[in-house]
Amino acid sequence: MKKIIILIVISLVMLSLSAETSIWSKGTTDVLPQGRWEVGIFQPLSYGLNETTELSTYALADLVMPNITLKKFWKNLDGLEFTSKHSFIYPSLFLNVMAKEGAFGILPDNSVIPHIFVLNNQFMLSYKYNEYLNFIPKIGFSAALVIGDSDFPTIDMPIVYNRTSIYHENIMFNIGLDVRGSVSSKFEYLVDIDKFIMDKEYCEYSYEHKLLLIWKINRKFALSAGYKLSYSDYPSTMQRRTDFIPLIDLQVGFK
């Protein structure tokens, strides 16, 4: 049972790294209404601070990986909505916990983990094609400040590798496009594609594509499922391939 709990926590942390936005909010560039709370198994605990600002954190992951995200809606210019997201993550505690012998030792026990402070910035523009379809191009970068001795390997897993490579190389850029639409008042979909550009010393790029079907059961519950495809450069050329990762999540909203 203990192992299962640890696995769930690890999964949460790992998968939370891959989430981009709260899928149950009205649209990718939209923020939650003031006073509304939302939380999902693999989605952050989000809170509408005011009509233009949303705060979110992966609450369970906070125990080992303090993180907070501020999402800000800036402007609506003739149907073009501009939003930005800024996240701060301190992964050193998590990496230290995961550097262990035996099960769930993601890193070798003799790893030396420095203090790592990560700042992630995303800028999104939403174009509403019609009532049912939104196009959201996005661009962003992550930067890491590393303090202290560092001697630990990269984590060569799909989705995780590109995001954690900045712990070694300090900066990563990303560019992508989300397409979000609705087929009825209850069902929505989200399709996206992202490219991550990294330092050549470790790897050069990775691509990710996601498809999510979202069933908004009612105002309190939403169920989503889909998949993520990841194609990435890794330290090993034999690893360059497409990985398929199933996604499923239950979200709960309040107010």
Partner: protein, 372 residues
């Protein structure tokens, strides 16, 4: 309402379709992965084939790995892996075998810096073709910092391997999660075209730490494969690391037969060695070493034999400050074998156990010749 069920079905299918997300499992019978050297070397058919079997410990040589019980190393630098694998290649070139059965060879593992050791050996020796079957494969092993793993058995040949398959062997009884990421033993079965004749070559690396009889089960299945070939009239050479001792071994198990410091996790305690494990192989086929030759040395040399194929550091469990560069290596049992059903057996006097490779792996190669 219909659309609701359709969505639910889609959600379920999408979720279930990714069950083996770390890609650790195999079918009962699969094609092996085929290899070819970057440049092929001429290989005239000789009067006798020189066959070798060797567990090369993924080029880890004598590094103190955490699983040895007294070290803490997990991952090797690429330069170290290349250097160690190059040393193995040098040795192979010196012996110049025609066919090699390798165990514990990494082709895409983080612990060995993702060096494809099979391709490396093909490109640095006179061997031209290879076949590979994974025995430990996972996109990511979430334990001990191991990460990606692809390690297994290989057969390398100077002549073309025309057919190669991976036959799955029973798994050790473990909890589901551990078993999912654990080793999956197999038989690598190949057909090699040598001139106008075919030779069947089979390679096994049986379980080392089973305490539930799985090792014996695996060995028996291997024997069954050989019997089938023999009944069909096919000529075979078979061998590998059986993790089993000869039927007449004096040195069996106990305090005089240690591998690891006391107190190491139960998971890595070796199964008691049964003298019966290899009896049928010796009874039905020709072993690389006759039992009477094997026993002489064990009796006369106070439990030391030049035919032991597995070794440990003598002082590793008694001295906290032991130094692998200085302390001696103790060969302590024979675990590696070659067998054939050739009517005339092996070429008389051709069998050698090459303990001079002590710094390259915890096992040493066994070679023997087959008249062709």
């Amino acid at each position: 309402m219909k659309s609701k069920y359709l969505v639910l079905t889609c959600l379920l299918l999408l979720t279930l379709s990714g069950c083996d997300i770390f890609n650790t499992t195999f079918e009962d019978l699969e094609d092996a992965r085929m290899y070819e050297a970057s440049e092929l070397t001429d290989a005239p058919v000789p009067a006798a084939l020189k066959i070798m079997t060797w567990n090369i410990k993924f080029g880890g040589a004598r590094i103190d790995f955490f699983f040895d019980g007294w070290g803490d190393e997990v991952l090797m630098e690429e330069s170290v892996v290349i250097e160690n694998t190059q040393q193995i290649a040098y040795y192979i070139n010196e012996i110049d075998p025609d066919i090699i059965l390798l165990q514990e060879l990494d082709i895409d593992s983080k612990r060995s810096a993702y060096v494809d050791q099979l391709q490396f050996l093909l490109d640095t020796t006179d061997l031209n073709y290879g076949a590979y079957a994974s025995q430990w494969k996972a996109d990511f092993v979430p334990s001990d910092g191991l990460g990606r793993m692809n390690s297994g058995n290989a057969i390398l040949s100077k002549w073309e391997i025309t057919d190669a398959s991976r036959i799955a062997l029973p798994l050790i009884d473990q909890d589901g999660l551990t078993q999912y990421f654990y080793l999956r033993r197999n038989i690598l079965k190949t057909t090699i075209q040598i001139g106008t004749e075919e030779l069947q070559v089979l390679n096994i690396h049986a379980a080392a730490y089973s305490k539930d009889g799985t090792k014996k089960e695996q060995i028996d299945i291997f024997k069954g494969e050989l019997d089938e070939l023999n009944n069909d009239g096919s000529l075979f050479v078979a061998g590998g690391d059986f993790n089993a001792i000869p039927p007449n071994a004096l040195n069996t198990v106990g305090t005089d037969f240690p591998d690891r410091p006391e107190g190491l996790a139960d998971d890595f305690e070796v199964e008691d060695y049964e003298l019966t494990d290899m009896v049928e192989f010796y009874a039905d086929y020709h072993p690389d070493l006759l039992p009477e030759d094997y026993i002489v040395y064990e009796e006369e040399n106070d439990y030391f034999s030049p035919y032991y194929t597995h070794s440990i550091y003598i002082n590793m469990q008694f001295e906290e400050d032991y130094d692998p560069e200085v302390d001696d290596i103790d060969w302590n049992r024979k675990l590696d074998y070659l067998f054939t059903n050739n009517e005339a057996g092996w070429v008389s006097g051709s069998s050698e156990t090459l303990q001079g490779t002590r710094q390259l792996s915890d096992h040493c190669p066994v070679i023997v010749e087959l008249e062709w």
